[in-house]
Symmetry: C2
Subunit: 325 residues, 2 copies
Amino acid sequence: MSQISESHLNRFEELRNEIEQSLEELIASRIHSGEVVELAGKMLLAGGKRLRPIMMFLAYELAGGKNPQELMALAMGFEFLHTATLVHDDINDQATHRRGVPTIHTDYGLAKAIIAGDWLFVQGYALGGRYDQEIVTIIGNYCSEIAVSEFSQIDHVNNLRTTPEDYLSIVRGKTAGPFSGGCHAAAVIAGACEEDKLALSNFGMEIGIAYQLVDDLLDLKGDESIGKPRGSDVYEGKMTLPLIHSLTLLHGENRERLAEIISNFNYDLFDELIELLEKSDSFTYTEILIQNHFDRAIKSLERFSDTDVRKHLFALSEYITKRKM
Amino acid sequence: MSQISESHLNRFEELRNEIEQSLEELIASRIHSGEVVELAGKMLLAGGKRLRPIMMFLAYELAGGKNPQELMALAMGFEFLHTATLVHDDINDQATHRRGVPTIHTDYGLAKAIIAGDWLFVQGYALGGRYDQEIVTIIGNYCSEIAVSEFSQIDHVNNLRTTPEDYLSIVRGKTAGPFSGGCHAAAVIAGACEEDKLALSNFGMEIGIAYQLVDDLLDLKGDESIGKPRGSDVYEGKMTLPLIHSLTLLHGENRERLAEIISNFNYDLFDELIELLEKSDSFTYTEILIQNHFDRAIKSLERFSDTDVRKHLFALSEYITKRKM
């Protein structure tokens, strides 16, 4: 993949600024309600990459939408819902930091964190509820699937028999579903035909899967200067794809040792873990999978004519799969 | 207040059965999604009194609605949202049982309880999202207020300087808002005029406040055979109205002792607490307040003609304020 050009990055930044400004205005208009808005707002505005809403604006335009302002409430709704799931996830993962700021439960306790998450959910649904039934159904479905997949993820913690199929099913529901739902909903708002909606929904799903696979790699090979220690997924017992692949491929002593390390992980075992994963070529395998899902995503865009916005969406896909954090 | 007649109770039971059946059907249609639906569904179907949806159907009919089936999804939505808040509340209150069954976090841990609550929220919003913007706004507003009030309630735990105004503000947001929102939304669906919507919204608010005051009394004087130990609000540090009233009225040694008991409550102090509350006539005061809010609720119904359904709504209000659990 080539370097992402300045013109694309500028377009992303432009969209990001518009989204950021709208989010800030919405929080400001609610801040009189007190601390719940303050805490939830701080997390919402703590500098997320806004990949989902940026993607939604590009999908909207690609699908023929002419009035991006009609999408803003929905794009914000997706970002509220995303942040809500992060706040509740961070409780369950006992994460101390998110987007560089302390998590709500760390600083203000469990009760306020749960409620702040609920407040973010309410806002997200209320924003989505401004639209037609078709949109409400998309949101209801992907949010239900998030919950279903999170249950499955919990049940697979430290489960060495997790299959690639289990993994993919969780990733589709938890990570890729919101990308897919966002692109799908944007196409609906744009008034797209069924085939275009489906193509954009598939695009979002494939890019979402790639996104998670990149996340899995970053947990093991990422730059620690971003503030998240390497191996934290392993520490939390999350069965990421490189682990699943390696467990399938290794045998004998190596397989036994890997199982032992995963089951009783601590950071002193990190280097040994990496060695084993390299023995089974699990990083390479994951990179190939990322490329496959990237390719499928791009293939979904082929039915649209080769305009600037399609190039932007292509570049955003590259940006997501090449990201270092 | 007189005994509630058989004909009213039959009508409530009839509505309750219809609601129950619809809820059961909805859960059954989702059960293939797995454990999250199973756990959330068990809590939803654990025999709640369904006061809010019953009230909504009566308010709908009173407001001139002719096709109750158009209300069912919304009534269910309110019950889903109500159960969602209970699941999350029970985590925060560390409650072990609800509606006679163990709470989700007790049996399945914190993470699954948070997510099961989130799943219930999603379903509630999705059901509400089937309706017009006016309904979505009502739901968004009352659910936001629940979160705001829960924050305030947490901040007032064991706060001996909680005023009746603080109390009322929390109760309006957390308990009465959903009743008010339910009646308001039902009137909207029925196609009521603005004045009728307002009257029913006020009715719900006043009955909701009375409901909470009755709850406060039951915590101190209720029948323990229902499975909830008396004094659990005090144990959790919740500043209920009888406590607030007594703290305001007592002075000298009695006030000091009361403050001590509330701050360091254990069940051995229960009888002494009751004695002090009786000294300040705080139970009588609470009963008078209940009657006042009941009267105001009933006054809101006066603008409607004196039909069977108005009598049912009157009887439901009596039922709520005279309930023993």
